[in-house]
Each structure stands twice: as structure tokens, then as C-alpha cells.
Amino acid sequence: MNRKFFSSPAILLLPSILAIGFVIIIPLIFSFYTSFTSYKLTRPDSLFNFVGFRNYERLIDNAKFWAAFGRTILFLAVVLNLELLFGLGIALLINKITWGQRTLRTIMMFPMMFSPILVGFQWKYIFNDNIGLLNNFLYLFGYESAIPWLIDKYLAMGSIMVAEIWANTSIFAILLLAGLLGIPRDPIEAARVDGCNSWQVFKNITLPFLMPFIFIALTIRSLDVGRAYDIVHIMTGGGPAMRTELLWTMIARIGYKDANMGFANAMSYVSIILSIAFTYYFFTKLVAARRELGQQ
């Protein structure tokens, strides 16, 4: 037993295990423990005030939390689908280009280079009702009312979605372009010889080949979008009247501004169910897509 434990592979793996333990496992266990306490950041002694499932019980009755939960699902669904659609379109168009493709690929990645904070500020002022570019542009065409982009019940969430999509569609485009470049030409040429039109080629050959890439991109982005915070925080702060409140803006406020970290951590652990569900779903789909292509 001892020999096995101290074997060379185990010793070689030990640094990694320790690193993962310190960086991931211990913080996870600690934060999970605090979700059963009334831990307040400003009262370190409250770390040992064990309250059992009280935080979780309060969550069940907390309508605002579940509203934010639902809003986050809506946000994920809309943003992921639109990013996929636009990313696929951009990838297909760039794949067609024979001259300047590299330059376009670089330009396409520009939005990814901005920090989410900057993206938030940029779009906040584009959508500002008074000095914003968009409303002032609309005034040029005779529109005489200031549209409250970041206030209106529907427009506020839509405006944040636009910013998120603008910043991250290129991730989809890059991944899908990589997939497109890897598709073998033979089946496509054979299909064309057999008289398939462009739509049939896309639907029956290109898309099935792309599906694993699509699901990888969806998985990565679902984890990312599920944690959306910076852009929302800057553009609306989750308001007004919680109309744009997502899980992580709510959790950050309760954890850091109210200093109520125990309750915030309970919220976080319930919230990651969402990420796990999306990841599980997309991975299942990824495996199925690979199987369809005859890959393992």
C-alpha cells in the first residue's frame, strides 16, 4: 500500500494535486461551509456561527432570487442562440473569402480584446438616453422622444444582451471557422457532383461536421454568460427596479456591499446548478454529435 502511495507517478502528480487542492478544493470546501453560517465579511467571528440550512431555506422563499434565476436563464438562452447564429454567419462568410481572410480574422477579434468593464462603459454611453449616440442619431431622423434604453422593462435587458453579443460573438466565429477549415472537401465536392444545392450541402454535410465545434463553443460560452457580471454591473447595476438583475450582480451585492457572505455563498451554490445543467446538456449533445460523425 505504502509502495503504491509513494510510487513515482504519485510523487510526480503530487505538485499538481497540491496545487489543485489549495487553489480549488480548499476554497470550494470553505465557501460551501460558509453557506451554512451567518458569515459577514465585517464580522470575522461570525464565521463560526453555524446556522444549518437557514440560508438555503430563506433562498427557497426568496422571490427576488428566483426572478434573477429566471432572468439569467432567459439571458443565457437569448445570448447563446444569437451569438451562435451571428458567429456561424460570420464564420461562413469569412470562410468564403479568398483574399484578406487573415486581416478580417484579426479585425473580428477586436471586441474580444476589450475588457468587459470597457465594453460596459462603451455601451452604457451609446445607450444613454440623454447624451447617448443612439438617441442622438435617432433625433437626426426626426425622432422626438428620448428612448430610455437602459430603463425600459424590455429594452434594458435587450441593451445588455446587445453589449454581451457584440463583445463575444467572435468567440463563436473563431471556433466555428476553425471547424469549417477542418472540414474535408471530398464529401462537399461529391455532394455537388450529385446535384445538391448550397443549402443541402450546408444542412447535410457542413452543419453535422460543425456540430462538435458548436457544442464546445456553447459549453464555453454558457459557463461565461452564466457568470455575467461586469457588463451588467457597469451598464445598469442590475436595475432599475431589478429589471436587469442577474444572479451574479445580486450575489455580488449581497456578498460584498451587504457583506453577507454566508447567504451570498448559499446563493452561489444554488446558482451553479444552472451552469452544471447547461454544461451537462451541451456535453451530452457534443458526445452525440461526435458519435454521429463516427468519432469517439
Partner: protein, 450 residues
Amino acid sequence: MKLFKSFLIVISIFSIPFSVFAVDKSFPNDKVTMWGDYSGITLDVKLIGGAPYDPLYEVMIPIWEEKTGGKVSILSKKSHFELDKEIKQDIAAGNISYCVVSNHTSFATQYGDIYRDLNGIVPGDFLSEFVPLVLDHSTVDGRLVQLPQHSDVSNLWYIKSIYEDADNKKRFKAEYGYDLAPPETLEQWKEQAIFWSDPPNFYGTQYVGKEEAITGRFYELVIAEGGALFDDEWRPTFNDEAGQRALQWFVDLYNAQAVPAGVLNYLWDETGLGFASGTVALNLDWGGWGAYFNSEDSKIGGDVGLVRFPMGSGGKRGGWSGSHTYSILNGCPDENLEAAASLIWILTNHEAQMHEARGGKLPTMNRVWDDIASEMNAEGNAFMSDLFSTFKASMAEDAFTPPLIPEWIPFSNIIFPELQAAIVGDKTVKEALDAAAKETDYLMQDAGYY
């Protein structure tokens, strides 16, 4: 581009008082000085940052370093809301061994006992120069945990020319039945705001619409309407009739489009820049914008008037007030304590406060109120002279702090979304206030008030 220009204007304006008026390094008007030889000492500090605050550090800290031989290491410089979060994380991590930190009377109660009592560290002769009420507000559980640099209270700025226009006077009198003059009551303020509005080109007034900013505004209107946020046992009472009248005032202005449509996303910069852009008739704001509003960089420069906060139906004026302060942490090593006290002295002394006051910031020392008024009178600067006399009256007669309890910010986070919900029409005024009162009741119960 417009935004970028505005940003540059703000930076340049807040820099003006510090670049135009050189500091007399002998500090001739400071009766108490706290120089010492602090060679070899480096003070770790965390400060509130931003255009209104940085110029003071840029002037005073180099002087302090030159005169004392000590060094200041700024570990962090950010907005007070961000600094607040950082301090809370520092407390949780046990990382509170730095010496000096920016503080605020509204925030200080949250942080427990991490600060040193400045009584005994700062000479009594120096403390006696401060307005006693402001020092009271800086005291938590009987301990003076912060030294005030400048105070906030708001009054009503307006565009003078539109009030002087004969045609406007005639139209207003015909519509409302009384003479057009800057508002003296909340009701007049609302009526005049509606009268002036011509959206989206011009708005009657505006208000800060989110976070603690709108909570504070609501709070002072509740007081003006004769109500209170809490009763003597700290049970919420803001959902009574006075509270409802206060919130209805915000709702009515919003529904009448007398405020910009995006007002619920506005904080201090947006309202200040909005007023300076000449698109808002009446603007409730602090004195710190005064020099900018009346400057050439503002579209209403030379055309700015100021009146006291209008009265509510309760016969009181709004006067939500607080002070920006500096504290010394318990974790500051004893050998650095004298140097730390010296540093907060130079950031709050007569010379520093005079420089801040030249930009319109409100002093916390009695003598500075008099000296800045004399200086402005001597210069024939009627605008700044009027600014200080108006704000001095407000500080003396109207100013009140928010409840100095650790639950102020959590309470604010409960109530401000409900205020917004009523304003945008998601809830009625009563529904919104009742919902906030119910949640506040839980907060206060959990905190052990009853």
C-alpha cells in the same frame, strides 16, 4: 466624443483650485502643526480616488514627504463604493495592517472596531477647530474614529436667466397663479420642473436614481415631509403617509417627463454634467460642483443661481449630510502612529480645507467657513460668497446624517430597488414601500434591534 470632452472638463475643473492657488508651505494659518521627523517610515494608505479627490493628495502628500522625510505608499485608490468593498474583504482576510484609510460618516459604522480612537492621538487643540456637530457624526460608540475633511449637503441650483425672462414669468403666473421665483417648497419645485420641461431637449429637474444616492434623497424628502425612516425602536416607519408623499414626488416628476428618461441610472456625475450642459433647469447638488457650474467650461457659466433646499409639507428642509474623512487603523504599527496622525492632519488642516473650499467643497472647521467667505468677498466673487453663505446656513440648520448604524448600506440595498419599482410603475407607491418595510423589518430583527 461629447462624453470624453465632458470627462476632460471634469478633470480640469476639479484641478483648477489646486493649480491656480499655490500652497503656502509654511501653513501660516494653522494654529496647530504636526510636523515631525519621520525619516525611514513608510505609511501604507488606501484612499478614495477620482477627479474631485486626487488634486489634494497631489499637492499635500509631496509637501508632507518633503517636510517630514516620511513616505506615503498608496496601496489602493478608488471610488468610495469600491473602497468600501475592498475594506470589507480586507477585514475578512485579516489584512488591515495599513495605517490610513479614507472613510465616510455614512460608512464608518459598518466596519466594527478596526479604527483607532483619534482622541489622544490628534491634539485636542486641533480637534477643537472642527465644527462640533461634524465631530459628533465622526464618533462611533463614543470613539472618534475619523477626522472630517469636507462635508456634503445639497441645495438647489438653477439657471438664472430663465427665471428672469419676462415671458416665462407671465406664462408661469397665468398657469400656476403665483409669481415665478426659485422654489421654496417641494410642491413648487415639482410644479416648476413640470413647467420648464420640454423633453428630450430640456428638463425641469433631475435626481440621482440608484443605490445609496436615491435612498439618501428619499430619506431627506421623508424628513422634509415630517416623517422618519425608523421609530425609536428601529422599526421601519417610512411606509407611512409622509413616506408615501415623499416617494410620490419622485413618481410624479418621472411620469410628467420632467426628469430625463434615464434618470434611474444616474449618479452624481450624470446629474452634475447634465446641469452644466444647460439642459436642466433645477438641480439639487452639493457645493463641490459650484466652481464648475459657474465656469466657462459649463454652458451655464455666469448664469447659475442657488437657493436653499425647498421645504416639505412637514415644515422642514432636506439636509441629508455626511463627511468625507480619514481614519487610522488599529493595525497601524505603534511606531508609525505619530506619522499617520501627521498625515491626516495635513489632509484636513486649515490650508487643505481652504484649497478644497475654493472649488466649492464645504469645510469642516469653523474658522475656514469664515476665512473662505472673507477671501471670496475680498475678491468680489459674489457667486462663491453666496455659495458659502447658503451652504453654511444649510449645515447649521438643516443638515442631518443618515442613521449611523451598520445596517445603513444593507437597508439602502433593500429600499432603492423598491423606490425604483414605484417610479417606473412596476408597483404602486404603497406596495413598494410596504415591501421595503417588510424586508427592512427582517434586517433589523436579524441585527438584534428588537
